[in-house]
Amino acid sequence: MSRTLLSSVAAIVALASAHGAAAQTEIQWWHAMGGKLGEAVNAMTDEFNKSQSEYKVVPVFKGTYTETLTAAVAAFRAKQGPHIVQVFEVGTANMMAAKGAVYPVYQLMADTKEPFDPKAFLGPVYGYYSTTDGKLLSMPFNSSTPVFYWNKEMFQKAGLDPNTPPKTWKEVGDAAAKLVASGAKCGLTSAWQTWVLLENYGAWHNLPFATLQNGFGGLGTELKFNDEPRIKLISMLADWTKDKRFVYGGREDKPTPLMASGDCGMELTSSGSASTLLASLGPDKLGIGMMPYSPEVRAEPQNSIIGGATLWVLQGHPKEEYKGVAKFLNFVSSPEVAAKWHQTTGYVPITFAAAKLTEESGFYKKNPGRDVAVKELTLNPPTENSKGLRLGNFVQIRDAEDEELEAVWTGKKDAKTALDDAVKRGNELLRKFEAANK
């Protein structure tokens, strides 16, 4: 008898807890973070789910950024969209234009009465994803900025000081020449060439990339990156390709294996590549420093701009579920969580508090160079040239830039013609976007 009682009690308890689990509000989060990054995402949501019992965030790895967006678009149109979707930064203007589909973060926070402090975020991180009057549209998540990597062993071999990276583009050229002379297959390479050489070079030297505050000011924006300094930079690099002082290794992060395998002595690429490069070169061989600048263009660098992706909230779910979404976004940007994400992945900390926490934990002492990204982003308060970019059809514009730059590397066009053509093609895409979204 007591046994039946016991088992029925157990059954009731089990039922009750099952019921409790069912009553949890599920929040779907579709993301593009595979591999180690995916593990970090899962650890983050596990922690959130354990921290409270009302909401359960379900992270779903949906493949590449494009596949994630494809899935979200298809699902949203079928009224089955996720609550949160991770979108790359170049999709920002298009996402903004998708009226009725996105739930701006500032509005979400206001509607759900969750605390929210815009000043907590690093300037360039916040600015990239907010309106001109400072309202945040999507939650910064995995942000990175270009940094300069160098191979200390190869520097030593070339007779360069392994502990002092070149500061200016001229010094980079000298180092590249010495590296090549010492037998290196390649002096310098650059990943994400459009982001690094055109967009960030502009911000770093406080040059506009496009009119109307780089597009933040309106849809009528026009590209302006075919200016004197950038033509000079590209034609200099084109000159370097002749003797492998500069080697073009492909679009996006395709060139990074050249650095990882020890072919190249220097690389400009995302701060997010630090973990990959450390894994293959080892901490003793890899140096991380600030991007080089051109003193003749600007006496001191301004600040860099970010890349990466943010979390967009999609419409179409019951009101009470958005409370959980807001809570989760606040959790993601809380100092401890953001600091942990920064330390495990190599993306920049999105808030000042997270950066400070990481600093205090002694992480940067143990991992020299990992603070470079934050330093670059916070070097100076962002100007309208270094806040970010807000361009419609940006994916296609970057494709056009990539194609024109490739024409330079292969000697088909000179730097001026290529950049002029890229601007012309980009402006056509901007006008198309303007027409569609007026």
Partner: protein
């Protein structure tokens, strides 16, 4: 071609075709109709701003040199895949037909690739030719060839052709082999007695008799190259570098989702659909005629 002898039933045939017709209507015709409607709209990917623009999407497509570049590329690509694929598999089939010892082992190894998913095949070939760690890239580098499909458009195209051919060669091989084995031995023996050497016999007797199989395979291979290679391109090059491998079926996907231009992408889909239907009709007409003769 029609059966002379048939059954007379009023309702049974409808019942029999019903499952397939229902599935086809629901999952093919209905979505296709929506796609045609979508091709007349200008809208953002999420469907918030929708504007009816008539044939504007088609007009801008036909004014877009990139679209024609992609179409030309698709034709080149399909031609290469079909030509190389057929030539290689015919050679292998003729040789396999000759050898007696070990034929089964050869065959077993040659039919493998057919079973490999295009997406997985793309991953495999990408690994072999990976510019920094790939075995083949390394071997080529050592003989003085810098093979880098990531930066070199022609090499990227070559690589997707190789991967696509590799994926399809088994299928062609099996058909050619079966075709060869169904050629009456007596014909070949008679020619041999008349003094025709192996190559004469091949070109005068075997090749003409194989041509129906060849034509069938040609159509199948072209259709495969047009549409079946999405997985290969997606896993290997994603259409790059510089659109050097952006074949039409990949462009539909790329423009629609990476570029978030659903209207333009739907217009491309509609055109592709017309192409498929035309190709299918050609193939059908041909097969019908062949059965008659």
């Amino acid at each position: 071609m029609e059966k002379r002898v048939t059954f007379n039933e009023r309702w049974l045939p409808y019942l029999l075709v019903a499952p397939q017709i229902v599935v086809t209507l629901v999952f093919f015709f209905w979505p296709s109709a929506q796609m045609i409607w979508q091709s007349t709209l200008l809208e953002d990917a999420f469907g918030g701003n929708t504007k009816f623009v008539g044939f504007d999407n088609f007009v801008s497509l036909f004014n877009d040199s990139a679209y024609f570049a992609s179409a030309r590329l698709t034709i080149t690509f399909s031609f290469l895949v079909a030509a190389i694929g057929l030539a290689v598999s015919l050679l292998l089939a003729v040789m396999a037909d000759r050898v007696i010892r070990g034929a089964t082992i050869y065959k077993t190894f040659l039919v493998w690739p057919y079973a490999v998913a295009p997406a997985v095949a793309g991953v495999l070939w990408g690994f072999l030719f990976n510019p920094s760690v790939g075995t083949v890239a390394w071997l080529l580098h050592n003989v003085g060839i810098d093979f880098n499909y990531v930066t070199n458009g022609n090499q990227a195209l070559l690589l997707i052709v190789i991967a696509a051919v590799w994926n399809q060669v088994s299928y062609n091989f099996l058909f050619f082999l079966a075709g060869l084995q169904s050629i009456p031995r007596s014909l070949i023996e008679a020619a041999a007695i008349d003094g025709a050497g192996p190559s004469r016999r091949f070109w005068d007797i075997i090749f003409p008799l194989l041509s129906p199989t060849g034509f069938f395979l040609l159509v199948v291979n072209i259709i495969y190259a047009f549409f079946g290679t999405f997985g290969v391109v997606d896993a290997l090059t994603k259409g790059g570098p510089a659109k050097a491998t952006e074949i039409l079926v990949f462009k539909v996907y790329n423009d629609g989702f990476r570029g978030q231009d659903l209207g333009g992408s739907s217009a491309q889909s509609v055109i592709l659909m017309v192409v498929v239907i035309l190709l299918t009709i050609v193939q059908f007409r041909f097969i019908e005629r062949r059965v008659h003769y």
